[in-house]
Amino acid sequence: MSAAGEQLGGRAILDPALAPPFPVAALAVLRDPQLRKNVAHAIDVIQGKRARLVAEKPDWQALRAAASWIKDEALRNLGLYLEEFEARCTAAGGVVHWAADAAEARRIILDLLREEKASEVIKIKTMTSAEIQLNPFLEAAGIGVYETDLAEIILQLGEGEPSHIVVPALHVNRSQVREIFARRMGIRDLPDDPQALTAAARQYLRGKFLRVPTAISGANFLIAETGSVAVVESEGNGRMCLTLPRTLITLAGIEKVLPRFQDLEVMLQVLARSATGERMNPYTSLWSGVTAGDGPERFHVVLLDNGRTGILARERERQTLRCIRCAACMNACPVYRQTGGHAYGSVYPGPIGAILTPQLEQLRHSQSLPYASSLCGACFEVCPVKINIPEVLIDLRAQVTDRQRRRAGRFFDPLYLGLRAANLIFARAWLFHGAQWMGRMGLRLFTRKDGWIHALPGVGGKWTETRDLRGLPQQTFHEWWAARKTGTEGTREQGNKRAEAK
């Protein structure tokens, strides 16, 4: 187990089918001050840069509106644009494959690798491959898989899991990186300064780049108009991965398609600023099919659905597919700030993960994720494609509740029963007033001499674990109002007169 893994009390589980519920998974991180410090420090740096660069764009809100409009238009005509992409990409010498789910995508990729007689493969910028759990599948089939993004190398060598979608090793600090590199690369006396660590990674990578003739990449955008694929990155390792091998396989979710080449003008501006707080990302690779004598000779695109058309079919949730994976939402999220990414039990953490994962899983798993938010709205405020994440969270909560209504276990859930009862009570004022009286009587048992409640049983105990609760006042507001109306009508007259006199 790696240092980072030890910090988490074992390797984090990012499989929604196996991951514990969010509140449980969060506990390990909440009890780890170093990890929380790493996370808060890293996102403070990115957020600060982002805020400065967004502030320098007077047309930022117009850019957001344009970006969200472009994605909406693409999604409304998704079938059309995907077929256009397929036609153009094929005409340019690429081969397009369609995968309905994770298993099909894995099989297509394995078949392609077998055709190539590949025993090794290098990878870059593909979160989608983690979504379909490609690495363990390929390794089980006897294929050596090497990540080439610096953060992904750290995680692969350290047997850790990504905790952020732009900075996957955000939770690992420099001395932990040094330890992983020294151990796995067999370098004794490796210092922990960034230059030495980068040099070690470069040494490790060059060998792979020059030896392995097959690569798998993700895609930031697919362009329907030209059949092109775009990958943006900071390190240049992606550029190596995309140009050196003989065969390149790109795995992309179907929502990645943009109608026109010109749409990149808007998307690249909002993506770089939102993701890393840069005006422009250092490397933007764009290619269409294959070009003789330049780059890969064989190029495949695997278009992955894996639950996306189900999201597309729902009007309010459809906006989820606008996501361009910039991570601005998790950087802004006060929940993510405390828990980091692993608690979300999915390769997609943070607010976007809280809405995307349950939908990709069709709510069979990850039912706790829609509740992993205080609905503060910071994510919506920063989202460059204007995904109203709180709105979708609330909608998913309604879907979870609707499922719960059909289960007998609901009668043992105090929150469920409490909310149902509250609804009946709030429907009639006399019942509400009766419940207030009963609450006052009941809570009096727990109220101390200072007028405060320090401990409550049951669900209330979740509150009093860390917070006190003031005991209920002797008189509700409506009782005060009624008494005042009958007894002290003069008060209001006086008040009015005083205001008039002024």
């Binding site: 609804n423 917070r467 008039e500």
Partner: protein, 248 residues
């Protein structure tokens, strides 16, 4: 000027002093207040926990109840946000066309307290006196759903004797989030701890806000930790005209 006070269920039950302060404040400004005796809850807790049908029944009740009101004043940003952001979706999904029209007619007359004072009454100086060091916590709903902007700060700036202490990370949530505070109690508490550190660092006597829900959260932790600070709804500051008893 007549206005109907929707006090909200938790203010009625837990924070009647806020309601009394709203009455004192608005009557001092010449507003004739009404109080609908059958009012209960806006349905926010149900909607945000996923009980859409239950939230709808409460929304319908409230829309009908305030159909005739000249203006509705609500001393809670999150309840106003519930009406503005969620009622339409609920009514469109579950309601009828008539209810939607009633909602459209009602919403322009619904005000959060600071909106009512500044936008409707046109006052910033409400004649308040509160000689204390105070920090203002911007609740998420007031900040992002209602876009209250600097309204609360403009009101506080005109309070005589009040020394306003700026709060770091003003836009960060305190971690309350309704049922989130119990469903994700540990995460909520971690957020609260971070927020409280910023609040206490202001060295204020009071932390104020336009939502008693955030204040109940912050105040509960202050009390637990024997912190030398109290919470107070802004209505009570604006209603105050005489020096309060020391931290009374």
């Amino acid at each position: 000027m007549r206005a109907s006070l929707f006090i909200t269920c938790y203010n009625d039950t837990l924070f009647p002093e806020t309601g009394r302060a709203v009455v004192t404040l608005l009557e001092r400004l010449g507003v004739e207040l009404e109080f609908h005796p059958r009012q209960t809850c806006c349905g926010q807790m149900h909607a945000n926990t996923g009980f859409r049908g239950e939230a709808f029944s409460l929304a319908k009740r409230l829309i009908r109840m305030y159909g005739d009101a000249e203006a509705v004043v609500i001393p809670s940003s999150s309840c106003v946000a519930m009406m503005r952001d969620q009622y339409r979706g609920l009514v469109e999904e579950l309601g009828d066309e008539r209810l939607r029209r009633e909602l459209d007619a009602l919403l322009p007359r619904v005000y959060e307290l600071s909106e009512f004072l500044i936008d409707r009454l046109g006052v910033e100086d409400v004649g308040a006196y509160f000689p204390h060091r105070v920090t203002y916590h911007a609740s998420c709903h007031g900040l992002r759903a209602l876009n209250l902007g600097d309204r609360p700060l403009r009101l506080l700036a005109k309070v005589r004797g009040l020394e306003l202490a700026p709060l770091k990370n003003l836009d960060r949530c305190c971690g309350f989030g309704g049922t989130f505070a119990v469903k994700n109690g540990e995460v909520s508490s971690a957020m609260l701890t971070a927020k409280l550190a910023d609040v206490l660092a202001t060295g204020s006597e009071y932390c104020t806000a336009l939502d008693n829900s955030c204040l109940m959260h912050l105040g509960g932790a202050m009390h637990r930790q024997f912190a030398g600070m109290k919470t107070i709804h802004m209505a009570e500051i604006l209603a105050s005209t005489t020096p309060m008893e020391a931290l009374g």
